[in-house]
Amino acid sequence: MKETFYDRIGESVWRETLPNGLQICIVPKPEHARSYAFFATRYGGMDVRFQKDGAWLDTPPGIAHYLEHKMFDTKEGNALQELAKNGAEPNAFTSNAMTGYYFDSTSHFEENLKILLSFVSVPYFTDESVAKEQGIIGQEIRMIEDNPDWQIYTRMMQALYEKNPARISVAGSVESIREITAQTLYDCHRAFYTPSNMILTVVGNVDPIHIVDLARSVLPREGGPAIPRDYGEEPPNAAEHETSARMEVSIPQFLAGYKCRPARDGEEYLRLQLLGDLTCDLLLGESSPLYLRLYDEGLINGSFSGSFEMMPGIAYLYAGGDSKDARKVTEEIQKECARIVREGLDEPYFRRVCRASYGCMLRDLNSFENIAVSLTEGYFHGFDAYRFPRIFDDLRPEDVTAFVQENITEEHAVLSQILPRA
């Protein structure tokens, strides 16, 4: 096992790869009462088409999320109750590119971890239990459909992307999940829940050696083959430039999305993530000239914010919130980008925002959840997430200007709006 100390952030990470291919990362936090485990597979809502035994297989949208729900069933009953006895409440989420199972506890941690590792690696479904889940997930889908934030984001993704399956809702639709059977769930579990496609991250008051021994004794001895996935060939421009819907909301909401050129796995991936985040802060952050001007003019309020996201094969920047005139806001974003490209970024402004962004990144390390998710993403994309200070230091104003010039353009833009019902 290898221990790496990162002096810029004052953290140590212990790493080990088991013979079955499972990656383990442990971040000891001896002064905390709480310990947190995160067990993730590189399999999410976008992995609907993949190769199995040499043939391409199409699976129903929403299947990764459905599988996540059903993993809690065990032959003996339900893993939730097993963990409940120790006061641990396990939970899980499915995103576009990963499914993660987690819990935290202040006592019986290793016992709980054993339960987590075994229920995630041993599937148990029956046709009856799979059919019953349709009611629960159907309700979940109905609930998110009523959520304007979800609607506005999903519609933006569908307008931005023509082929990439990130455009599909992670939960699927009430119709698509009807096609899911116990057999398709078993197939997907066998393909994606092999130790070689997974990573276990533990943050907290633990002994790294014990954790590794425990994972070795509980998990299967063999890994599995790498699974090729098909995300389609995505053109560089936005598929559509506008989308809107009416809902029961009090004020109009909008998101302006910009399709960006993606990065390859490795350190380049981390660099683009840092560059995209920094661009958001410089262009749209609370101390940016654009934010201050739009806020003063009443075009945006405190709900306005920007974000940069990356997934396999895609990257996009988006900004939004409440606004009485979303079109005007997007015009102003475009104008500000043109100004930045024309005049460059003011050096003292750049340095000041870098200082603030750096502080925010360090502050995020208070959260065990953030630590686990960022180490996991780093592993899936071939970089060490804790090396961010060095790469961040190397970013220059010209990098941001070039990023803006290439990506934040009208051809790449989508305006998604939710308007109140008349």
């Binding site: 952030i9 004052g10 936090k29 002064e31 905390h32 009462a33 709480r34 339900n78 939730l80 109750q81 963990l83 409940a84 006895k85 120790n86 006061g87 641990a88 409440e89 939970n91 935290d104 506890s105 202040t106 006592s107 019953k132 889940e133 009611g135 629960i136 309700q139 979940e140 109905r142 609930m143 459909e145 009523d146 959520n147 304007p148 809902m247 029961e248 909301v249 009090s250 004020i251 609370e286 101390s287 201050l292 806020y295 009443g298 309020n301 405190g302 409440d322 000041r352 925002v353 200082r355 603030a356 962004s357 750096y358 502080g359 925010c360 360090l362 502050r363 390390l365 208070n366 019902r421």
Partner: protein
């Protein structure tokens, strides 16, 4: 390193929690004032207006530049309801000394900025700048109207409004539209002057600085705070019981229904009710979750909350409209099961460890600590999380059943879809 609570001045208290395990320090300043229908909106608006500028940093531009310089320190205004008190003020989070490059110290400049936001706001002719008041008043109005966007939050609020109509507990922490719309810059300034001199001020610090440094820094930062006839926090009054449960139905354009149920607890055995509520619907291993959601697939979520200060339990659930009666009956049946002690062997110890786990973990989060101790101060309680844990530890099953026996249905709130003419 021990927690201390010290009186700094008349009606000014400092709770200091030394800790070295966090990446950040947290500093909070909160005024505690009675929650009332006619003043709630005024107090909710005040910190938002104060956050706009001080004498030294009169606008958002100069304020955010200062925060950038302080390594992205965050100072957020907060509006919270604790029992029948309204708490308004600021929470600041900034890098802890050990992580600041070059050994710079951030506690002193952040504390002084916090003091300025409260004691030295930018004014003209003895009142707040009209543009700031109007802008933030519009934002507050948007926030009040925006509650309806999240149907779960909306339904939870509506249940309390209906159940506790005419009582302080039924007032939203933001107040209402009618009162918010009428606030003028003059009126707000008069209220501000009153709050400054008469409301109890709770200061809170968590981080690596020693007590003396924190005390001195805060004394300096708040040296100009006027103090006269400070009012101690008001304690919540019990909810007057109803002879018959009241049912309120509301229609809206939604695809999922929301069923809320409010109960009155006549017993004051709080640790027994806390455990009883955890068994009933307070965790993902509770009877509501396992039966109403998992077993019967009647809803996507169903949970309950114990309002200790007010002696209430509320249930919140999302259901298909046509399942109203079935969900209602099942929720009542599960309450009955807790009263009658129909529990599986693991349930009671599971509920107990869930609560013990939660109390043990409070110390691992600075915002959790701040929120916990503010709640205690605002409602006149002095227990630490360990004291609550000890009370939970020593509560036996008989006490729980007896306490839950006193839980009576008071109000039902149902949000359903509008009938559409085809």
């Amino acid at each position: 390193m021990e927690k201390t609570r010290t009186k700094l001045a008349d009606g000014v208290f400092l709770t200091c929690l030394p800790a070295r395990k966090f990446k950040t320090s947290l500093l909070s300043a909160q005024f505690v004032t009675p929650l009332q229908e006619d003043t709630a909106a005024v107090w909710a608006l005040l910190p938002a207006v104060l956050r706009r500028g001080t004498v030294r940093f009169p606008d958002m531009r100069s304020l955010s530049q200062e925060l950038d310089q302080l390594y992205g320190a965050e100072i957020d205004y907060t509006v919270r309801k604790k029992g029948e008190s309204q708490c308004v003020g600021f929470v600041a989070s900034f890098l802890d000394d050990a992580l600041v490059p070059g050994g710079e110290r951030l506690l002193e400049p952040v504390a002084s900025l916090l003091g300025e936001l409260i004691c030295a706001p930018v004014t003209r002719n003895g009142r707040f700048l009209p543009a700031y008041v109007e802008g933030e008043r519009d934002n507050l109005l948007d926030a009040i109207r925006g509650i309806v966007n999240d149907k779960r939050e909306y339904a939870d609020l509506r249940l309390l409004q209906e159940m506790c109509a005419g009582e302080a507990y039924g007032v939203s922490r933001f107040g209402d539209e009618k009162h918010a719309a009428k606030i003028s810059p003059q009126k707000l300034y008069a209220h501000y002057a009153e709050l400054l001199s008469t409301a109890q001020l709770e200061l809170f610090y968590s981080g690596s600085a020693d007590f003396e440094r924190v005390r001195q820094t805060l004394l300096d930062a708040f040296s100009t705070l006027p103090r006269e006839s400070v009012r101690p926090p008001v304690l919540p009054r019990p909810h007057p019981p109803r002879s018959e449960p009241r049912v309120v139905t509301e229609e809206m354009d939604v695809s999922q229904g929301k069923l809320g149920m409010g109960f009155v607890c006549e017993s004051d055995d709080f640790s027994a009710l806390l455990l009883g509520n955890t068994l009933f619907g307070g965790s993902s291993n509770s009877k509501l979750f396992l039966n109403v959601r998992e077993k019967l697939s009647l809803c996507y979520y169903a949970s309950s909350r114990y309002h200790r200060q007010k002696g209430l339990i509320t249930v919140s659930s999302g259901i298909e409209f046509e399942n109203y009666q079935r969900a209602y009956d099942e929720i009542m049946a599960q309450l009955c099961a807790v009263r009658e002690g129909r529990l599986d062997g693991w349930e009671l110890e599971g509920a107990r460890s869930t609560l013990l786990n939660a109390y043990a973990a409070i110390g691992d989060s600075q915002s959790g600590l701040e929120n916990f101790y503010l709640g205690q101060a605002a409602t006149g309680q002095e227990e630490a999380p360990e004291d609550l844990a000890a009370a939970v530890e020593s509560t036996d099953a008989e006490r729980i059943f007896r306490a839950m026996e006193s839980v009576k249905l008071d109000t039902v709130y149902f949000l359903k879809g509008r009938e559409r003419a085809e």
